[in-house]
Amino acid sequence: MAPIIEVNQLCKNFKELTAVSNLSFTVNEGDVYGFLGQNGAGKSTSIRMLLTLIAPTSGSINFFGKNLKNHRHEILRQVGAVIERPDLYKYLSAYDNLSIFAKMSEIKVSKSLIMNQLQMVDLADRAHSKVRTFSQGMKQRLGIAISLIHNPKVIILDEPTNGLDPQGIADMRNLILKLSREMGKTVVISSHLLSEIELVANRMLIIHKGKKMAEGVVSELLDPSKTIVQIETLNNNEAKGKLLLSKWAEFVQQNNGLLLLQMNKGDIPQLTIDLVAMNIPVLSIQPRHSLEDYFISLTNPNAHVEAFAN
């Protein structure tokens, strides 16, 4: 796949504070690219630099092989964005908001185009309602419609699930997958909700204190040899004693009454057989290795196991 976005050695300083430091990454055509980091990690600053809202202190950003600084106008015509909460013009209707931003994107605006777009995000029946009457989820969907109205090649979504209820989050996830799979868009999505990135992204970047911690294909980043397995038994202390005397002793990590083993996911069947052989009454075995675990291991290695216990 051809690279759509290439970021090289990007830095941003706010006086004494370094918000982003030597950040480099590449987003390929068709990617759903997850931009992952804790609050204050530098995600939003990086995304705002991609949208020319913030000027980089140094480094370069290329879209479609062209420098953003020199080809801003041309590039932004191909980019749609939702930046945090899309508050929009509350005193205008959804239709008017969409119409305004469509015109600003230099496209020919027609009633059918706007209604189709509202239909896509399930807001056609509220087209003429004022945005001030919308829920956060509806505003977020309208924001997506605005970002798509000019049919951009790249969609940038900064924390799109912020403030949404579980149904809203699920709807947003489905919409992102639809954009990627059915409409062939390249999507860059930032979030601190790790599970969301895990569910939608094929590639991702983990950023911490403004620095890149890891970048790559999500499935490759999730190392199966470092799976955390949580075992629940009738008596965890007794079970721990038995396991410490077995070949599994080196994998045992107990904390706050939970029995945790850090091990290869492929060894779980053998562990199950051995637990039965040791007469340990098992209630459940849960492999817990996820992006969250991986993320914590990168950004705070000491908290790797404790995070599950708390």
């Binding site: 705002r48 020319t52 980019v79 964005a81 931003f101 015109k103 600003m104 230099e106």
Partner: protein, 293 residues
């Protein structure tokens, strides 16, 4: 550019606060017109009390549309800067407050273009406000009170301008007032760039105008040649200059004349300079600013 301006004007036209200014002006004008229609004679008696001995004034004719419009402009043009600041002070800070500024700036429009469009929209709002004022104060008063020779009161006495020589002076005065109020709009627009809510720039603009107006009117010799000539507030009431007329050797007013063209030209030059300065700084700051809100 035209499409962007249309969008900006559409947004302004759909905000309820836009109409506060129009309603306020209408209320003031109607109240004054009503009061003068009901008891204008007493008012004329009051203001001509000191000059009655030196001038023969036909009080019935003096209370005409032209005179009342002059009176209204004297009252209104002091208050209107606040109304202009309501819109101009909100133009950038309001977008930042709503969270729409980041969306605007991420569109394929240059920041300079965005700023010029926004200021142009503020300018057009100011023009609309003055046209509204002209319709109510000038044409409304002409309709209600009729037209005649216009009496202009000065500290030195009174001047009578012939009926046929008045209307163009009002057009010129409204044109000058547009320039003066656009300067206030430019100041509010500049302050709007630094804020993330509208209250700050609106209040700051009004405070600055009040402080500078006091300085402009302060008769302190030290200020006369140093500060006062450079304050835009010194020229805010320069529109009155169009109603100060020259006399010939026989003591007759000269039709079409203006007593001090130089002062009016200087006012136009200084106000235009301030507008360019304020808007220029606003654009320069906005181009360099990181949009964090």
């Amino acid at each position: 550019m035209w499409k962007l301006l249309q969008i900006e004007l559409f947004k302004i036209s759909r905000r309820p606060r836009t109409y506060i200014a129009f309603v306020a002006i209408a209320a003031i004008v109607f109240l004054i017109q009503f009061a003068l229609k009901a008891d204008g004679k007493s008012y004329i008696d009051l203001i001509t009390r000191d000059i009655e001995e030196s001038f023969i004034i036909d009080k019935e004719k003096a209370l005409n549309g032209y005179f009342i419009c002059f009176l209204l402009l004297n009252t209104l043009l002091v208050q209107v800067p606040v109304l202009v600041a309501l819109i101009a002070g909100d133009s950038i800070s309001g977008e930042a407050n709503m969270g729409t500024l980041r969306l605007l700036v991420s569109k394929p429009i240059s920041r300079t273009q965005l700023m010029l469009i926004k200021f142009l929209a503020c300018f057009l709002f100011t023009v609309a406000l003055l046209i509204w004022m002209a319709i109510l104060a000038l044409f409304g008063s002409m309709l209600i009170f009729g037209t005649d020779n216009m009496m202009v009161l000065k500290s030195t006495g009174a001047t009578i301008i012939e009926r046929g020589d008045v209307f163009w002076r009002y057009l010129a005065a409204f044109g000058y007032a547009i320039l003066a109020l656009t300067t206030v709009a430019a100041l509010a627009f500049l302050l709007s760039v630094f804020a993330e809510n509208s209250i700050g720039p609106i209040v700051a603009t009004v405070c600055i105008v009040i402080v500078l107006t006091i300085l402009s009117n302060l008769n302190v010799p030290m200020f006369d040649k140093t500060i006062r000539p450079w304050l835009f507030t010194t020229y805010m009431v320069g529109w009155k200059g169009f109603f100060y007329i020259n006399y010939n050797d026989d003591g007759q007013t000269i039709t079409g004349s203006v007593e001090n063209w130089h002062a009016i030209k200087r006012g136009i030059f200084l106000l235009t300079g301030h507008i360019i300065l304020f808007v220029g700084i606003a654009i320069w700051v906005f181009r360099k600013r990181d949009i964090l809100s």
